[in-house]
Symmetry: C3
Subunit: 338 residues, 3 copies
C-alpha cells in the first residue's frame, strides 16, 4: 500500500467539473464519488456500495441521494443508507465512508484523514481566482507518474530553460533563492535584463525594451503549489509590470498515477485571449512536462527516489526540502504523532 | 493458484461452436483444445505440446488427430502421441492430458477432476433445447470478473428492477422464496397483477390485461443455472401463459475472467423473432449486466468477497447459500474428501 | 531479476539504424543510448540521467555530447558529465555507466560485463556482409518471448517443414548432425534429391532438375547465430550451387521480450530482387516464427523451461547442447569464475 499523507486536504477537482451530476475520481487509491445536495453543498462518499461493491457513481441521483444501480440501496451525503427499495429494513451498519469536503476558490477539497481534524482554514487560498480584474483559465491532466515527481518539476523551474522554449528557453537562466516560511517552502527565480520571451511578450508587450522576469513558487503540503510569475521593464517595480498568478495542485490517484490541476489568470486587458492562454499552458504541461515526468517515472521502475541515489545539484534545494518535509509528515502520521 | 472445484462438469461451449475444426478455450486456467474424431465424438486435450509447448490448437487436423504446427508431433483424442513425422521413435511418455467430455443438449461439457469420477449422468439437463415446440437462441460473452460474481447476479434477480428496464424496471418488485433441493439451490420470484413489461409483452401479448410474472432459477454446482421465466394473465395457472426457459452457464477462464454462456427458447408461435429475441437478451447480458459485474470485480481489487465484509440483505439469501455450498465443495476437495 | 550472461557481446543493432542521431534500446533490462562522436566512433551509455532519471535519449546532441532535456546536464561518450549549463560546479561523481562498443560487419555490439574483459576479437564475424559479390538485406523484429526460445527455433531447423512451406514444407525432411566446435555448436541439415522448393528456386533456378539443400547453423554464445543455406544440383559440389549466408542475432530486451536481428545475402546476379528477398524472409520470421514463439512463451506462463519437463527428441540435440553451455556460463558467472 502506497504511503500518502492522510491528515491533509487534497484537491478533488475544479468546482465546474461537478455541476449537477456526480464526479467520480480515485484519490489516494480510494474511489470517491462527489455530488451536491439540494442546497448545493458538495459531499464525498466512498464510491463502492457496501452490499455488492458496485460503484455508486454509476447510480441514479435522486434529490440529495444517490441510488446504487445494482440493487437499489440509496445513500445520502453523510454515507448513511436511507432506503432499500426492495423493502427490507435498512441495517444500521449499512453505510459507506464519507469525507469532509470544502469548496472555496472554485476548488473542491477533500480530507481523507481523521474527520475531527479537518480544518478548512488550513487550506491554501487562491484569492485571485475570484478577482474581478482578472480572467482565469483552468486545466486538468492525468499523469502516469508518482505525484512527488510533479512537485519536483514545479519546485525546480530551471527546467523551463530546456523544456519550455516559449517561456524563455536559453534566456531563462535565473538566480534562485529558497525560503522556509512556516509550513511552506518558497522558491524564487529572477531573470534580469533580457529580451521578453515569447509567452510573456504575448501577454504583456515590452515594446522591444529589456525586461525582468520573476517566478515565486510556494509549496503547501502535501502538493498544493501557488505560483506568481511576472514580467516588468528592467529595473522597475513589479507593480508596474504584469503578474500572472497560477495554481498547480496535484493529487495522487495511485502511487503510479496523479491528477494534475492547473489554473492561471491574466489581467482582463491582456492582449492574449483565453483560448491562446489555455493553449500555451496546455502545451507546456501536456506536451512538454508530462511526457518527461512519465519518462522519469518509467526509468525509476518502481524504485524509491532516495534508493536510486540521485545526484543533488544546488538547483534541487527547494525540491529536496519539500521531499523531506513531506516524508517527515508521513512518518509522523505512521508513528501516530500526526 | 486460484481454487476451483475440480470434481465437477464445466461447460466448454455450445456444440455449434466446435463444428469440424478445433475449439481452443482456457478453462480453470488450463488451455484446452477440443476436436471431433471421425465418428463425431468430441475429445478435449491439453492445448500444449509436451515437446516445445506450442499450442496444438494452431496445428493441423488430420482425420482423428491433430498435428503440432511447430515440429509435427501428432496426437489423438486420448492425448497419446501417435506419430513423429521426423522419423524418430515416439517415446511412450509422449502424451498430453486428456479430459472426459460429454455432449448433450447441444452443449459440450468437460471434467477436469479425477477421470474415474466423471459421471455424465450428473450433468444438469436442458431438455427444452431440443423441444420441437420451441425455438432457441444462444449467446456467449467473456466477462472480466470472477465467475462467482456472475452466479451472484443470477441468484438475486431483484437487480432486474434497477439494471434491466425492459424486464420490468420499477414494476419488478418480486416476492422471493429460496429452497434447497438436494445439491441445488432454487430461488423463486413472483410479481403479481402488473402491466406486462416490454420484453414479456413482445414475446406474449397480454392485450392490455394485468399479468403475473415468475422467475424460478435453479443453481447446480459449480455454476450451471437453469431459469424458467414466464408470464400469464393474473390469477391464471402457468400453463395458460408463456414459459421462457433459459440456461446460464458460467465457466471460469481464470480467477479474473469468465466464460458466460446463455441460451433461451420461445414457443415457435411467439411474435418475437429470433433476431429480436437475441438482441434483447444480448442487451441485458452484454450491455447491462456485464459492465456492472466488471465494475464490481474491479472495485473488489483482488480481495476475497468475505474479507470485504459485504452487507447481507434478505435478498442475498440464495446467493449466499450458493457461495457456502460451493466453498464447502472446494474445501472438501482440498482436504481430500471430495 | 532475470539472469543473463553478462560477460559477453550482444548486438545493439544494425549500424545503419544509428546514423547521426541517437539509438535508444533496452538491452538485458538496461536502457542504453548509443551515439557517435565527431570521429564517427559509437558510444553507449546508460540512458538515465543520474540527477533526476530522465532519459538522455530524448536529449539534445551537441557535437560529441548529449544534453539532458530536463535540466541540461551534458555527458560525453565516456559517461562523464562535462557541463552543467546552470552554472554550478559539476560534481566529480556525476557520471553515467558507459559500455564498451564495437562496430564491425555493419553491426554495433555492446559489452555489459566487466569492461576490462571486453575483447572485440571474440565477436563472431559475418565477413560476407561486406563481400562485393553479394547483396544484403537486413531486418529487425521485436518478439514477446524469452530469447532462448528464439535460439531453440534456429537450432532445430526441422520446424521449417511445418512452419515454412516456402522453404521446403513436406520436402524438408533433413538428415542432421551436430558438432561441438570450440565454444560453438554447429548443427548441419542436408536434404538430397528433391524438387527445388519455392524459395531456393526463386533465388537460383534448378531448371526442373533435382537438388540438394544444405543448412549449416553455428551458435556462438550467447545468442549469435550464423547460417549457411544453399542449393545445388543433386550430387554436385556446393561451390557449383548457390550459397545464401545469413546472420540471426538475438539480444534479450527483458526476460519476456527479445530483439531479433536478421540479415542475409544473395549473389549479385540472383534473379530474386532485394525487395522480394526481404519479403520472403520477413514472412518467415515475422508471420511464421514470431507468432509461434510468442505462443510458446505464453504457454510457458513464466515457468522455467526445464521445470516444465520438456519431452526431448533426437532433433533437440543441438538446442539442448546450446542451452546447457549457456546455463553453465551463467552459473559460472554467478559463482564468480567467469
Amino acid at each position: 500500500m502506497a504511503k500518502f499523507a492522510r491528515q491533509a486536504w487534497y484537491m478533488i477537482g475544479w468546482a465546474q467539473e461537478l455541476g449537477d451530476g456526480v464526479l467520480a475520481r480515485t484519490l489516494l487509491g480510494v474511489p470517491v464519488v462527489v455530488f451536491r445536495d439540494g442546497h448545493g453543498v458538495p459531499h464525498a462518499i466512498h464510491d463502492r456500495c457496501p452490499h455488492r461493491f458496485a460503484p455508486l457513481s454509476t447510480g441514479v441521483r435522486k434529490d440529495d441521494r444517490i441510488m446504487c444501480r445494482y440493487h437499489g440501496l440509496t445513500f445520502d451525503g453523510s454515507g448513511a443508507c436511507v432506503e432499500n427499495p426492495l423493502g427490507g429494513a435498512v441495517p444500521g451498519v449499512c453505510r459507506v465512508g464519507a469525507y469532509p469536503v470544502a469548496e472555496q476558490d472554485r476548488i473542491l477539497w477533500i480530507w481523507m484523514g481523521d474527520p475531527e481534524r479537518a480544518d478548512p482554514s488550513r487550506i491554501a487560498r487562491f484569492p485571485w481566482i475570484d478577482d474581478p480584474a482578472l480572467r482565469c483559465v483552468f486545466g486538468y491532466t492525468q499523469v502516469n507518474a508518482h505525484y512527488e515527481l510533479l512537485t519536483d518539476n514545479l519546485m525546480d523551474l530551471t527546467h523551463a530553460r530546456f523544456l519550455h522554449p516559449g517561456f524563455g528557453g536559453d534566456l531563462y537562466s535565473p538566480r534562485n533563492s529558497v525560503e522556509i516560511d512556516g509550513d511552506s517552502v518558497v522558491s524564487k527565480y529572477i531573470v534580469e535584463n533580457i529580451d521578453n520571451p515569447e509567452f510573456p511578450e504575448n501577454a504583456w508587450s515590452a515594446h522591444g525594451r529589456k525586461v525582468d522576469l520573476w517566478d515565486d513558487i510556494r509549496w503547501h503540503a502535501p502538493a498544493t503549489l501557488s505560483l506568481s510569475s511576472g514580467v516588468v521593464l528592467t529595473g522597475r517595480p513589479r507593480n508596474e509590470g504584469c503578474e500572472i498568478p497560477s495554481a498547480h495542485v496535484i493529487t495522487p490517484e495511485t502511487a503510479d498515477r496523479s491528477h494534475y490541476f492547473w489554473g492561471s489568470a491574466l489581467p482582463k486587458d491582456s492582449p492574449l485571449s483565453n483560448g491562446d492562454f489555455t493553449q500555451v499552458l496546455s502545451q507546456a504541461f501536456d506536451t512538454e512536462d508530462k511526457p518527461m515526468i512519465e519518462d522519469v517515472h518509467r526509468r525509476m521502475a518502481g524504485e524509491d527516489f532516495w534508493d536510486l541515489k540521485p545526484l543533488l545539484l544546488r538547483t534541487d534545494n527547494a525540491a529536496v526540502r519539500v521531499r523531506r518535509i513531506l516524508h517527515a509528515m508521513i512518518e509522523q502520521e505512521a508513528a501516530g504523532h500526526a
